[in-house]
């Protein structure tokens, strides 16, 4: 081998080495890139799954609330009808026609009260109870006495109603003070 040829060969080897180095660097860059992308996607997947769980839970809660309080609006509108029927029940009647009418009113009232009860609507306990501003609205006061200690309800002017834990209408009451 001549000196020139040897030099040529050395040079060629050097070039090959450089190329290999370059190649391996770009391959390693690509690997790093892909691994990074996988990490990012892993993160996105985790977040998407967490979102699915959140949405599902939130919607179940919303549905349960809607279901639980679904009768609220109609029930509120029925309260004046019940008041009317209760007032009608206080009317005295003198003949058979009146008695038959009153019997009809009584049955209607019972069926309305039953419908409300089945939907979770109850009268708010008031007379004799301790006044609670969450459930009672004080519209008059009387002086407290032995039979009516301060802060107890002595009379109910209009019945209040609640749907489960929600007040549809507070009781209008007279409170001892």
């Amino acid at each position: 081998m001549s000196e020139k040829e040897e030099q040529k060969e050395e040079l060629a080897e050097e070039i090959t080495e450089l190329k290999d180095l370059e190649d391996s660097e770009s391959v390693s860059d690509e690997l790093t890139e892909l691994t990074k992308k996988i990490d990012e996607m892993d993160d996105q997947l985790l977040r998407a799954r967490a979102e699915i769980a959140n949405i599902t839970n939130r919607n179940r809660n919303e549905r349960e609330l809607l279901q639980r309080y679904r009768s609220q609006d109609l029930a509120k509108k029925l309260l004046p009808a019940i008041d009317n029927l209760e007032r009608a029940m206080a009317t005295e009647v003198n003949d058979e026609h009146g008695a038959s009418l009153k019997k009809g009113v009584e049955m209607t009232l019972a069926s309305l009260q039953n419908a409300l009860k089945e939907e979770g609507i109850e009268e708010i306990p008031a007379e004799g109870e301790v006044f609670d501003p969450n459930f009672h609205q004080g519209v008059q006061t009387v002086e407290a006495s032995e039979n009516a200690p301060a802060n107890t309800i002595v009379q109910v002017l209009q019945k209040g109603y609640k749907l489960h834990d929600r007040v549809l209408r507070p009781s209008m009451v007279v409170v001892a003070q």
Copy 2:
């Protein structure tokens, strides 16, 4: 360079080449593996996002339905009360007490009917209409005549009601045949 040395060198080069080949094969395997994984994750992400969109839509529809028909159960239970009041309204009264009671019944009936109407509940049109088994229940028939062509409703025995498009109770009717 001796012949032996040349052979040695050639062998070493061959070994290096083989190693490079091995390395590049395993690197290329790894790249293929990672790219495949990315494709799979891409697919999973797409599906997770489609699921989120589906759940969101389904839940909105469910909520709308719950909202639209929320009064259904309570309204159904009110119908007998309305029947009772309407029957009571047919009672004749002879004195002031009876008249006052009847006035109370009338007001109650109006307030109940109004509450139902506000919640989307309406009486099903029946008298004089063409009989429709989706809305009417035929309980008696009479012979068709000039005034009552076949398949029309000639009398309503009990009023029917619907909530939007849903029948709460069909009308009980007498049909011409």
